[in-house]
Structures are given as C-alpha cells and as structure tokens.
C-alpha cells in the first residue's frame, strides 16, 4: 500500500475512470519495450563496445561521409517534391468529387503496400536510358537511373503517402468556408490560399514532410536498384550499412546505423516540439 496524501495520489495509485486500464497500459508498455526500445538499446550497446576514436574513424570515413551528404541532399529534394505533390494530391482527393476518386485514394497507399524492391526495379526499368520515361530524359541529356536524380525519385515515391495522409484529415476538417470567408473579405483565390488555407495546413504539412524526410534517410530497397551505387557519387547511408555487414564488419555497420538512428530520432523530437507549440496556439489551452 502506497501511502499518499489526499489530492496528491500518484498516477498509478489513482483509480482509473475507464475500465481495463491496467491491462491495456501494460500491453502498450510491453509492446513499446519489445519492439522499439529493446532493439534500439541493443544497437547502442553494440556500438558502445568500441572506443570513441574507433567510432569516430568509422563514422567519419570519407566514403561514409560522402553517403551522408548524398542521402541528406536527396532526401531534402525528395521531401520538397513530396510537399508540393502531396498537397496537390490531398487537395484533389478531398475537395473534388470525380469518377475513380476512391480508386485514386486507395492507390495513394501503394508505395507503402508495395515491396520497396519491386518499386526499385519498376522505377529503374521506367527511368533507364532506354526505358519508357528515361528515353525522353536521355534525349534531353538528363540521366536519371544510375545517377543522383534516380535516388531522389525512389525516395519521393516511397514516402509520398506520408504527406498525403497527414494532410487529408486536416483538409477535410477545415472545409471550404474559410476560403469563402477570405473571398468575401476581398481576397483573391491566390491570397485566400496563401493567407488562410496554407497556414492552417502548415503543421500537418510539416509533419508529413518531415516523416517523409526521415523515412527517406533510411530508404534502402527502392534506392539500391536505381542508384547505381557508385562510391562517392550515388551511395546512400543505408547501403553503406549493408556493405559493412557484407564485409562481416558488424561493429562498423552498427556505428553507422546509430548515426542514422540518432538523426531520425532528433528530427522526430524537433517536429513534435514544434507541432505541439503550434497546436496549443490554435486549439487553445
């Protein structure tokens, strides 16, 4: 029995309002621990076997450092493309009623459902110099498959649903009356979009785009087929981890993986923090 003064009952000793709290909370904690926290801890433990100097030399190796740059720049462009395309698709899906809308809505999830390797092979065939789309770019002198643009395309393909699915519910929620209100106040359609619609979408757009970015940092399957994997040019970090594993250098692979992991976690927390502040403002509190 935990003795507590009235009004200062500990969270766990308070009588819960909804039934089944103990069981459901216990299961959630178990799941989070087993599936998320435990592997992460193992990874960090593994990496902590080596000395700081070793760790540094592995993660700052020239070839590895080049992959950071390539991955970051490609992920940046991929998420920029997705921010624009995702907004457009979400807008079309929510605001217009047209035949085939539900089919299009279902297809939005395809990049998630499709094995990334399949996506990679398909994109490579399409964008190769003799592919259906690649040949037109080839004529213009632009190489997509086995070059940097290929990485960007593979990344944006696999992460597009993050943006669309983050925006859809918000767009449904804000309805057309906000634009109408802006228009009755003299705003042109463009002004209504920039001053009224976009600011209300900003948190969802930022979350979606950030998730897309984070996902792109770790994308592997789709990229390795299309990238060509030329060291210092088109190698991404996740491939680097794989290469180290292939070389039976597990500690090095773990070290690089921990860098990707830390970067992703850091970004995730930053996004949460920013979004929390914005939502507090518009929801009140």
């Amino acid at each position: 029995m935990v003795s507590t003064r009235p009004g200062r009952a500990l969270f766990f000793t308070r009588h819960p309002v909804l039934p089944g709290f103990t069981l459901s909370f216990g299961l959630s904690v178990l799941f989070v621990s087993l599936v998320i926290l435990l592997p992460l801890t193992a990874l960090l433990l593994h990496a902590s076997d080596m000395s700081w100097a070793e760790y540094r030399s592995i993660i700052l190796d020239d070839r590895v450092a080049a992959t950071y740059r390539i991955t970051l720049i490609a992920a940046f462009w991929a998420s920029m493309i997705n921010a624009v395309l995702g907004l457009l698709f979400a807008w079309v899906l929510v605001r217009y009623r047209f035949p085939g809308r539900s089919l299009m809505d279902a297809l939005m999830d395809l990049p998630f459902a499709l094995p990334t390797a399949v996506a990679g092979i398909t994109l490579t065939t399409l964008f190769a110099a003799n592919g259906w789309l690649g040949r037109w770019f080839d004529m213009a002198g632009i190489q997509i498959a086995y070059a940097f643009p290929g990485i960007v395309i593979a990344m944006s393909f696999t992460s597009l649903p993050f943006v669309v699915r983050a925006l859809q519910p918000v767009l449904e929620d804000i309805g057309p009356e906000y634009e109408e209100a802006a228009r009755t106040l003299g705003a042109s359609n463009r002004q209504a979009f920039w001053h009224v619609v976009l600011p209300q979408l900003r948190p969802a757009l930022l979350t979606g785009t950030s998730l897309a970015f984070i996902r792109s940092l770790g994308e592997f399957g789709a990229i390795i087929f299309i990238a060509g994997n030329i060291p210092f040019e088109t190698e991404v970090t996740s491939l680097m981890i794989y290469i180290r594993i292939q070389e039976y250098d597990a500690p090095a692979a773990t070290a690089i993986a921990s860098v990707v992991l830390l970067a992703s976690l850091l970004l995730l927390f930053l996004v949460q923090l920013w979004q929390g502040r914005f939502l507090k403002r518009i929801r009140g509190g």
């Binding site: 009356e177 906000y178 109408e180 209100a181 802006a182 228009r183 009755t184 106040l185 003299g186 705003a187 042109s188 002004q191 001053h195 009224v196 600011p199 209300q200 900003r202 403002r281 518009i282 929801r283 009140g284």
Partner: protein
C-alpha cells in the same frame, strides 16, 4: 443599398433548390429569411453574396446588375454559420484581414488599420480580447468577432447565415437584441437566415417566409403573423391546433364535440379542418352556446406571463391541444390535472378542401 432578385432559379442535380424567386429588399432594412431547413434560404443568401451562381435570373444592388460580379467585388459582408474565423490569427488579425487584402493603392497604412480594428472591436465590445486566438473565445464572442470582421471593409450589404444557430438560448436572446441595436447604429442593408420564427419576428423589419424554394410571403413581422398569405405561413409561424371534423348542416361535428358555423360558410366535401392558435381560446367549466368542445387537462406549465395548458379531447378525435391563458384567468379557473373543462375558441381559421386558407370564424361574435 437595396437588393433586387429577379427570377432566381437554382438546382443541385435533380433537386430544385430555388424556383424563380423575385424579391425587392429596400435599403437599410434588416430582413429575416425564414423557413424550415431545405427551403432554400441559405442558397438564396449565398447567391446574393456571389458564393453560389444562380442557374438563371439576376441579382441587382441599387439597380446595378451584379450577377456576374465575383464575390470579392460585391462588397458584401458575410457571417458564416460556424463563423469560419481564421484559427491561426488573433482576433485583431481576423478583424483586420479584409483591410490587409485590399490592393496596395487602397490599403490604409498600418496605423490607420490598427485604429479601424480598435474601433470595430469597441463596437462589438471585445477590445480586451484583441490578442486572443479564436479557440480561446466563447461562441457568442466568436460570433461578434465574425461580425466585426465582416464590417471592417464597410460592406454595402451584410449577410448572416443562421447567425445565432450554434449558441445556447440565453446568449442567443442577448445577441439578437444586440444585433438589432447594432443595425440601428450602422444602418447597412442586412439579410439574415433563420429557421427560428421567434428570432425572425423579434429582429427583422421585413420577414421573407420561404418554403420549398419559393417565397410564401414578404412583409413586416406583424402582417406576416396576423394576415398569413398561405396555409404554410399560418402553420409555420407559431403553434397551431388542428381540429378536423364533418359538417352536418350549419354545424361542425366530431364525436361529442360540435361548433355552430356562421351562415354562408361553405362546407366543401362534407369535411372541414379548423386551425386554432393557442392564445385564441379560453377554458370554462361549462360549454358555450356556439361551441361544445369537452377536454381534459393533461399538463400545466406555469412559466412566464401566460400559462400553457395541454388538453386531451374527451369523447372526440384530435391530437393533444395546447391553450395559452393569461395568468389571472388561469388562477380564476382553478385548473387541476384530469379536470373536465370546455374549450371556447374565439377565432378559428378554416382550411379549404384544396388546402388553402378559408374564411375566419369568430364564434364569440355571433
């Protein structure tokens, strides 16, 4: 600014929302568009604003055809049902939005804009909340911000869609009076949509009663109430008791109940329906010479200046009846539940066989 609607029609797919509506609203009036849901009143308001395009017909402001003018150039203030306040802007930014959207040449300087915002917030008595966000306001406050925002650009017409629909009864009443006073301060032609009869009656200079995409009647509240132009208007404005029965000679009969009809009143098809307003009848311990309507007291509601008595017909067929008595009459009568009384109507509206309004019967006058 006066508003003229000339044969406005609008349909959504196969649904005819408005059929050939023509209306003349004179400048400076506060007009209530009243009708049940689905009567097309909101669609009509949106067509006046330019948010919706009519399939045919013209909209004129002060005689000038604005049918093809986009909403931005019509200079209308529109207050939405759910206010549509911009959630990411403060109250002051919301109110100033219209001024900020003006083209560069016409846009007042920052200081002037701020002064105008302050002036409007004072008008709606919310100057102390200028820096709050809409989510931090109550429903009534949001409504007033929406109104201030609409007034910021000096609209020539103010349109309000169910302005008090989302508020609770008490706030509603306050805001109604406040809107009335505001309209006296700023006499801009205003049109508001409502499905609440009391609201339309209390606030408007002119009431437009609509049903199924058509205008049933236009007029000052009193005229519309006292001289309804159609059965729909009679039915819709205030509670009615419907008494239906058969005619035998100069007498209306239903079971044990009967009424003597004035001479000359036709009784088409042998049946006659009579409408009775709750306040146009009294109760007595014995039947009248012209009316014999036995009733039993079911419920009594003592609230306000009049007392509402719910009655069940005894020995004849009708839905539950409702009568409103002045408090003194009620006390003199010593009404008790389950008591047997007689209904004495003073004024009855007869309904013709085709559903229109027939002559009025005043049993006490004979």
């Amino acid at each position: 600014m006066s508003i003229t609607l000339d044969q406005i029609s609008k349909s959504f797919g196969s649904y005819q929302a408005l059929s050939s509506i023509s209306l003349d609203l004179s400048g400076g009036d506060l007009v209530g568009l009243l009708g049940p849901s689905g009567s097309g009143k909101t669609t009509l308001l949106r067509i006046i604003a330019g948010l919706e395009k009519a399939d045919s017909g013209r909209v004129l402001f002060d005689g000038q055809d604005v049918t093809r003018l986009p909403v931005q150039q019509r200079k209308v203030g529109f207050v939405f049902q759910q206010y549509a306040l911009f959630r990411h802007m403060t109250v002051a930014e919301n109110v100033g939005f219209g001024l900020r959207m003006l083209p560069r040449g016409e846009r007042p300087a920052r200081a002037q804009r701020d002064a105008r915002i302050r002036e409007l917030l004072e008008l709606v008595q919310l100057e102390h909340l200028a820096r709050r966000y809409p989510s931090q306001l109550s429903g009534g406050q949001r409504q007033r911000v929406a109104l201030a925002r609409a007034l910021a650009v000096n609209p020539s017409v103010l349109l309000l869609d169910e302005p008090f629909g989302a508020l609770d009864a008490k706030v509603r009443k306050e805001l109604r009076r406040w809107l009335r006073r505001l309209h006296e301060q700023i006499p801009v032609t205003s049109v508001f949509v409502t499905h609440d009869q009391e609201e339309a009656m209390e606030v408007s200079d002119q009431v437009v009663v609509m049903s199924q995409g058509q205008v049933e009647q236009i007029g000052p509240p009193r005229t519309v109430y006292e001289e309804p132009a159609s059965r729909f208007v009679f039915d819709f404005l205030g509670h009615i008791n419907a008494l239906s029965g058969a005619c035998t000679g100069p007498r209306w009969e239903n079971g044990q109940a009967w009424l003597n009809l004035p001479p000359g009143l036709g009784c088409p098809a042998g049946n006659l329906t009579l409408y009775l307003r709750p306040h146009e009848a009294t109760l007595a311990h014995r039947p009248g010479a012209e009316a014999h309507l036995p009733v039993e007291v079911e419920e009594v509601s003592v609230f306000g200046a009049t007392v509402k008595v719910e009655l069940a017909p005894s020995g004849w067929q009708a839905d539950a009846l409702e009568v409103e008595l002045p408090r003194d009459d009620y006390l003199a009568l010593q009404v008790q539940r389950r008591q047997q009384l007689y209904l004495l109507p003073s004024r009855l509206q007869s309904i013709t066989a085709n559903g229109g309004l027939g002559p009025v019967i005043e049993p006490g006058q004979q």
